[in-house]
């Protein structure tokens, strides 16, 4: 069995990579898939707290590549979902403690036994970024509807393509549909046409995200959460399911697509 290795990246910091990894991983595991999430943000470990697993860490990513433990020893199983695991980042090491070839080898090894390997990439385009993308076959680029985040996303897309990682999809996070309607926030269609990368989903700006992070329970566990539902849709699309875009929630994407196809 060969699973898929997917890196979640952005360029700009704080746009929602870790939130995305936690929710997509959880949603895919809920579908019954075996999932490993790797926190590649060495020195700024966060995926563990977002998942509520911070108390269980013994070994980490750097311990694996340095041969201090077996891969399974550093994998922490989720509290609720048996097929969901995280490999935490090392907190007190430098970004160069892992090399691209080592990441490649680890991702390859994990993909042998799991359906999805999701990599939480650090912000920036330096070493940490290069490590995180080295083992990935596919990339999800996260941006918010802001000028600086979009510009950085464009840079990252260029770098990914230059590294021959061409299977790229876009996630727009923190969209505020009210502001889009007022003309004070770029719409999904605007952003997609600027970046020219296929869209895989739009996540609304939502206080629920903060609450869920406070609790350490990903939103996709919460029934009736709009942001949670958005992540579920993205997971379904990743899984190849045909989930239509909705104009009201996805910030004016459908009308544009219809216009393009003359519908």
């Amino acid at each position: 069995m060969a699973g898929r290795t997917i890196v979640v990246t952005s360029g700009k910091g704080g746009v929602g990579k870790t939130t995305t990894v936690a929710n997509l991983g959880t949603a895919l595991a809920k579908k019954g898939y075996s999932v490993v999430m790797i926190d590649a943000d060495i020195g700024l470990r966060n995926l563990d707290v977002v998942m509520g697993l911070e108390n269980r860490i013994v070994y980490n990513l750097v311990d694996i590549v340095e041969g201090k433990c077996r891969t399974e020893q550093a994998m922490i199983r989720d509290r609720k979902l048996k097929t969901l695991h995280i490999i935490p980042a090392a907190q007190t090491r430098e970004k160069d403690a892992v090399k691209p070839e080592q990441m490649k080898a680890l991702c390859g090894e994990l993909a042998q036994e799991h359906d999805f390997v999701l990599i939480d990439c650090p912000a920036g385009i330096e070493r940490g970024f290069k490590n995180a993308v080295a083992g990935a076959q596919q990339a999800l680029v996260v941006t918010t509807p802001e000028v600086s985040a979009i510009r950085d996303a464009d840079r990252v897309i260029g770098l990914l393509e230059a590294n021959l990682l061409k299977d790229i999809h876009l996630i727009i996070n923190r969209l505020n549909v009210k502001m889009v309607k007022k003309g004070d926030m770029m719409s999904t269609a605007d952003i997609v046409s600027l970046l020219s990368v296929p869209l895989i989903g739009v996540v609304p700006e939502s206080e629920e995200v903060v609450v869920s992070t406070n609790r350490g329970v990903p939103l996709v566990h919460e029934r009736g959460s709009r942001a949670g539902a958005a992540f579920q849709k993205i997971a379904a699309r990743l899984n190849g399911e045909n989930v239509p875009f909705d104009d009201d929630q996805d910030g004016g994407f459908l009308s544009r697509v219809k216009r393009i196809f003359g519908g």
């Binding site: 000028v147 979009i150 464009d154 003309g183 926030m185 770029m186 605007d190 600027l194």
Partner: protein
Amino acid sequence: MLKAIQRFFRERNSAETARKRLGVVLMHDRLDISPDLLEALKNDIIEVLSRYMEIDRNSIRVDFEEGKEYTALVSNVQVKRVYRNVAAT
């Protein structure tokens, strides 16, 4: 009156402004246009134009402009005089 002034100064549609600005910024980023390259481009334009007309070399400007459907490269230069027999030479 005050309201009208406020309305005038307030960005009516900031999303549109953002989209346009980004279009230009991304174009620059992607082409990775360095000041050197832009300078070379200007010199080439000047050289070509000079075969046909007398121009003010210092007046040349090269910019990217975001239109509705496309991004344009716009170059402006002051023409002093067009040579008469260019076609013959």
